[in-house]
């Protein structure tokens, strides 16, 4: 009797813990007491370390421990807004106050060219294939550095706008800059840049281009303020929207391409995943977890995980085998309106779908007959468990493999 009561109590505790979590993401707490930190940029270096540029300095994360860098460590400003790595493996930081620094021999060094630094926030840093440093600013144009000399591109040089959000190098070595006035394609010859502008006069659906990413072939993906994510083909000069019809899901703050998926963050709708083959857009709404609607940046890491930075912290997807299914799927799941989340998981046996409400959990699809009663819960952020008649199954996503069954 005591044993049964103990099991019941243990299960109850686990379920209570699970209710408050979104099992699809692991949330990382960067500061003690879970203080919110605005994550401006996430970057993975060549060795696999994750760097987080925040309003509370720079964080280096090796998967287990964090190290935080401040102005006391020679950072020019506490607010880190851009990150990049040069060919020597040095991490470069761009800051809200327009300054740059690089990390070498375990300390930061200010980048102080004789011409001075930018007057506004650094939005992105890029090292092109030739090793030249480029950096973009919010309202101070685009800069590039050749042989220690700094050059600035502004409206006089043909930049469509001084507000430059993102820079990306294409396969031919051209540097693309997304601005408030369209896209500037910069071709560097010796130390001179010639500019080609893509804007609404050339068919660009929206002039505010906040994010760029190189696509297949010579194509370039563009995340826009009001037209969603679009693909541009320089060969045909054609723009192709990611989704059919009008984009009604808000300003794109960032996007990350993960094989057949495009993860998109928007101010109004939080996190979305577009399944390219199925031509289907899936939403993570605010009810599935906090932090989705204030996302600032996304990163696909070398293992295919998606990292999402927000105004309050950072989260990471738990792995490919665990799939979130959005609530709005009425034909298949008519009973699910009160449910808070639904997931689909593969645990070495056929797929199980389970869902959770505020008070209980339930499977939607019948798993194998011997697993007809399944409880699914997550009692630590990095793992998911299934409680079934044959036993308890768990997956630890930090190990990325099945941790085995417990009977």
């Amino acid at each position: 009797m005591r044993k049964a009561a103990g099991i019941f109590f243990f299960t109850f505790l686990l379920l209570q813990t699970a209710m408050g979590q979104v099992p699809f993401f692991q949330k990382y707490y960067l500061l003690k007491k879970n203080e919110p930190v605005q994550v401006n940029v996430i970057f993975q270096d060549k060795t696999g370390l994750i760097w987080l540029g925040t309003n509370r300095g720079l964080f280096k994360f090796d998967g287990i421990t964090y190290r935080q860098f401040h102005v006391f460590d020679n950072l020019p400003d506490e607010n880190v807004t851009a990150l990049a790595e040069d060919s020597l493996g040095r991490i470069w930081t761009g800051h809200k106050n327009g300054k740059l620094a690089f990390f070498e021999k375990n300390q930061f060094h200010a980048f102080e060219p004789p011409e001075g630094s930018a007057a506004h926030e650094i939005s992105d840093i890029l090292f092109d294939k030739k090793g030249n440093l480029w950096f973009s600013t919010l309202n101070d144009g685009l800069y590039y550095v050749i042989q220690g000399r700094v050059y600035r591109l502004d409206e006089q040089e043909g930049m469509p706008d001084l507000f430059v959000y993102d820079i990306e190098e294409d396969r031919h070595g051209n540097v693309w800059a997304g601005t408030d006035g369209g896209v500037a394609v910069c071709t560097l010859t010796d130390s001179k840049v010639s500019l080609t502008v893509l804007d609404d006069h050339h068919g660009l659906p929206d002039n505010i281009v906040k994010k760029l990413a190189v696509g297949a072939g010579d194509t370039m993906w563009m995340g826009t303020e009001d037209a969603g994510v679009i693909q541009y083909d320089p060969a045909t000069h054609k723009y192709k929207p990611m989704t059919r019809g009008r984009w009604d899901y808000g300003a794109v703050t960032d996007f990350a391409i993960n094989e057949n998926q495009i993860w998109i963050s928007s101010q109004q709708n939080g996190l979305m995943v577009y399944e390219r083959q199925a031509d289907h857009l899936k939403f993570y709404d605010a009810t599935t977890g906090r932090g989705f609607v204030s996302l600032t940046t996304l990163l696909r890491d070398q293992e295919g995980n998606i990292w999402a930075g927000s105004k309050t912290g950072v989260m990471r997807t738990l792995g490919d085998q665990l799939e979130y299914i959005e609530i709005a799927d009425p034909p298949k799941m008519p009973i699910l309106s009160p449910w808070r989340w639904i997931i689909k998981a593969t645990f070495g046996f056929p797929i199980v779908r389970a869902c959770s409400s505020a008070t209980s959990m339930k499977t939607e699809e019948s798993p194998p007959s011997n697993n007809s009663s399944v409880l699914l819960f997550s009692f630590i952020p990095s793992s998911v468990c299934l409680l079934t008649p044959p036993g308890m199954f768990g997956r630890d996503y930090t190990e990325r493999e099945l941790s085995g069954s417990i009977r």
Binding site: L138, F163, D180, G181, N207, I208, E225, A251
Partner: protein, 188 residues
Amino acid sequence: MTHIRTTIARGWFVMILVSWNFGLQAQRFIVDKGEINFSSNASLEMIKAASDKVTGLIDPANNQFAFLVNISTFRGFNSELQRQHFNENYMESEKYPKATFSGKIIEQIDFTKDSTYEVRAKGDLDIHGQKQSRIIKSKLTIRNGHLVIESDFIVPLTDHIITIPKIVSQKIATEIEVHFKSSLVHQK
């Protein structure tokens, strides 16, 4: 003789500068009438307030704009005590007396042509001493040399570090709905 020439040249330069500056200023639109309304729609209470003490201008020469309202000029609320709390506890209007929005209109507009435009105003929204870069969609109507700009937008309190005590969290919304309308005329 050289001195006289220099003086004449300087005089011409000053005249040209003055007339050029006057010409530029004549192009500007300044606020004739303006009103900002906000509503906080929380589960237990709806609070509404408005101010018609809006100042500002739009400069067609460079598409730039600036608008300002004094926080203490908001009237409405459900009680005088609520207005007092708004000024003293939440907005700290003595410390941060003004809310401003300044920046530029993204779209290129022909300000000489009567028409209605859907535009995006991009700039820094400064409330409670906290600046946030925002793009706010607005409707801009030009009619007979007059200009009317109207927009609806949301202000999340967390963006501007406005903290609401837990005890009143069900009475004050975390996101404030704002409606702005202003008519502008040529600066004389």
